[in-house]
């Protein structure tokens, strides 16, 4: 009886050890398959770059840059990169130059159309022009055949009324900030 019991126990232990061994062997290898896929979507991007003849842009190389004319006046000194193309009795114009670069991928388009608008109405006594187009809050076309992947220079004009503050002229002595929205559309 005891002999049978021992024999059974040995069989059970052996079976258990074999199972454990098989399990350990199975855990040392693993295989798997990942099915990867992507969809290549076309698109374009826009960025503003500093032009050698203009003011140095803040956040140049991005799509949200800043251009600071500094102190401007009809007759006083101007910052580097700012010129004064005209002074009349009614107003004076200060100008800087900035670059726009539009990059496209996956499109057959060879050119793009650039449009711009003011984010809000221009401050009193000021108006803004890009390449001689006076900006408003409505989108207006600046260029219809822009080339991709290259910096294209644009004039940014600030036309300032010579009138005194409170008489139609702009506020003086404090920075005046305006945001211009640009949109590039693939042709």
């Amino acid at each position: 009886m005891l002999k049978n019991y021992i024999s059974n126990m040995r069989g059970a232990v052996l079976a258990a050890l074999m199972l454990c061994g098989a399990s350990l062997v199975a855990q040392t290898t693993a295989t798997g398959v990942i099915n990867g896929s992507l969809v290549n979507k076309n698109g374009i991007s826009i960025q503003f770059d500093t032009d050698a003849a203009g003011v140095t842009l803040g956040a140049a190389g991005t799509s949200a840059a800043t251009a600071n004319f500094g102190a401007v006046s009809a007759f006083g000194p101007l910052s580097g990169g700012v010129t004064r193309p005209s002074v009349t009795a009614a107003n004076f114009t200060v100008r800087t130059i900035f670059d726009v670069q539009v990059v496209q991928g996956g499109l057959t388009s060879t050119t793009y159309t650039l449009a711009a608008n003011l984010a809000a109405a221009a401050p009193t006594g000021l108006s803004y022009k890009v390449d001689a187009v006076t900006l408003t809050t409505a989108s207006q076309t600046i260029q219809v055949n822009g080339s991709y992947n290259t910096d294209i220079a644009h004039n940014l004009d600030l036309v300032v009324s010579t009138a005194a503050p409170g008489a139609g002229g702009p506020a003086v002595g404090a920075p005046i900030t305006t945001t211009i929205n640009f949109t590039a559309t693939a042709n």
């Binding site: 840059a65 251009a67 004319f69 102190a71 401007v72 940014l156 010579t162 003086v172 002595g173 929205n181």
Partner: protein, 177 residues
């Protein structure tokens, strides 16, 4: 079944189309900042009753050439002369115009000063003696955007040798009041 298939295809095409449109535009913002300051500008203009400025009319660096002058001889048109027992004075009308921008200033003060000392001759602008020692006030209530005549006069002693060249610069400063 056929209608469902057509609708499904149409919807798929719509989605593809809108996706394509959305991907072909890019937008950016350029924030523009400027600080406007008031300023004034002074220019010289020829006065109709005086000598024409030799150069620089309409600018802030002009030249007034009297040419040959004498106590009793002929003078160019536009020159006014007066004499005393020992000196003669020649003068010419010269217009000064000051423009202002972005300023509520009502008028300006105009001052002048000789660029170099002149121990022999006497200079005046607008009837006010000017030297190189200090600025002389020509007016304290100059009107903007209008030509104002401030005659330039030189008083020359009779003792001055003939052929003597008299030359000097007059520095004007206009200040908004």
């Amino acid at each position: 079944m056929k209608k469902v298939m057509l609708l499904t295809i149409f919807a798929a095409l719509m989605m593809i189309s809108s996706a394509a449109i959305a991907q072909t535009t890019a937008s950016g913002t350029l924030t523009v900042t400027a600080t406007v300051n008031g300023s004034i500008q002074l220019v010289f203009n020829s006065d109709a009753s005086g000598l024409a400025l030799s150069s620089g009319a309409g600018t802030n660096a002009a030249t007034l050439a009297f040419g040959n002058v004498s106590a009793f001889g002929a003078l160019a048109a536009g020159i006014v002369r007066s004499t005393t027992a020992t000196t003669f004075t020649v003068s010419s009308a010269v217009d000064v115009q000051v423009a202002k921008t972005n300023s509520a200033s009502a008028n300006y003060t105009l001052k002048a000063q000789l660029g170099a000392a002149d121990a022999v001759n006497t200079w005046s602008v607008g009837g006010v003696a000017v030297t190189n020692a200090a600025q002389s006030t020509l007016t304290a209530t100059g009107a903007y955007a209008a030509n104002s005549n401030f005659p330039v006069a030189i008083t020359v002693p009779f003792t001055t040798a003939s052929g003597t060249l008299i030359s000097n610069s007059i520095n004007y400063v206009a200040t908004a009041n």
